[in-house]
Symmetry: C2
Subunit: 173 residues, 2 copies
């Protein structure tokens, strides 16, 4: 199957938004999605974008009845390790089920790695749910290490009222 | 004890670099630190900085024999959730042992939360080692959730040869 990987444009935000929801459904957390395609467009395609995005596109002949030719995406941004320096974080990697097993996911992820290396990043990190064995196997087969297993890193979060309360405690100076 | 929280300047990079190493020693991974203060200065204080940093400073009268008045730091950057939007990630939070228990850590973290909220971030995330009970207790007492425990998120990483190999697989188009 032919496909291309290209940088997303504002016009892709409806497709990306649709696939963000498909991924959240797969991860059993569809109620968590609060982002519209308009917000994605603002946050990713204005002067100081909060993220970058690649999409996988198939030629017209593969278009399904639903009419999609954008069939996968990888959304990422730059982070920083105080031990190793510049890093890239892949927030989402998704390929529509009917287009899997054809190298689309690998191509998207490899391109994120390549773009990151061009920016002198020394790490590519991402998060996976512990029950998502197909994804964990896919990543590990390519050489990814599970740092939660090997070093014991846990992800913590403040949001909602806990974040509001924390921000209110900030010193005035 | 009086202290102020302020944005780091390039001149603070030697102090930050020293404390990055102190934190790595505490986390039992001092060999992991490959970042010099010169690199920190380039990556954090040039036109498109990879991170932002706050420092805690005490007045001259608290200066120790070693001569430090910068006694803590919080290093952070912006990330993005495709479910919730703009987020802030706190890579490091550190206070020198002899200055702990005086509200310095809370002040640094609260300030990160406040700066994040000013940028309309809805989450503050960070990672903690599972054996680091004092830190886990500190964060949880302030309302942080452990997402690895509650939802099963694991952190994965490509680096070194695995990252090189992945980048080489990227499609040419």
């Amino acid at each position: 199957m032919d496909f291309i990987i290209r940088a997303a444009t504002p016009g892709d935000c409806k497709d990306i938004s649709r696939m963000i929801m498909e991924l959240a459904v797969y991860e059993n957390m569809p109620d968590q999605v609060k982002i519209s395609h308009e917000v994605l467009e603002q946050d990713g395609f204005s002067k100081n974008p909060f993220f970058q995005c690649l999409v996988a596109e198939v030629p017209e002949q593969y278009r399904r009845t639903e009419g999609y030719t954008v069939v996968g995406y990888a959304l990422f941004f730059y982070t920083y390790s105080t031990w190793k320096g510049r890093s890239v974080y892949m927030e989402d990697l998704y390929v529509m089920p009917e287009f899997r097993g054809k190298g689309v996911g690998t191509a998207l992820m490899s391109k994120v790695a390549q773009v990151g290396k061009e920016q002198r990043c020394v790490r590519l990190q991402f998060s996976v749910l512990n029950w998502n064995t197909p994804s964990l196997d896919f990543y590990k087969a390519k050489g990814a290490q599970d740092l939660t297993d090997s070093e014991g890193w846990h992800v913590l979060r403040f949001d909602g009222e806990a974040l509001d309360k924390l921000a209110q405690e900030a010193p005035k100076n």
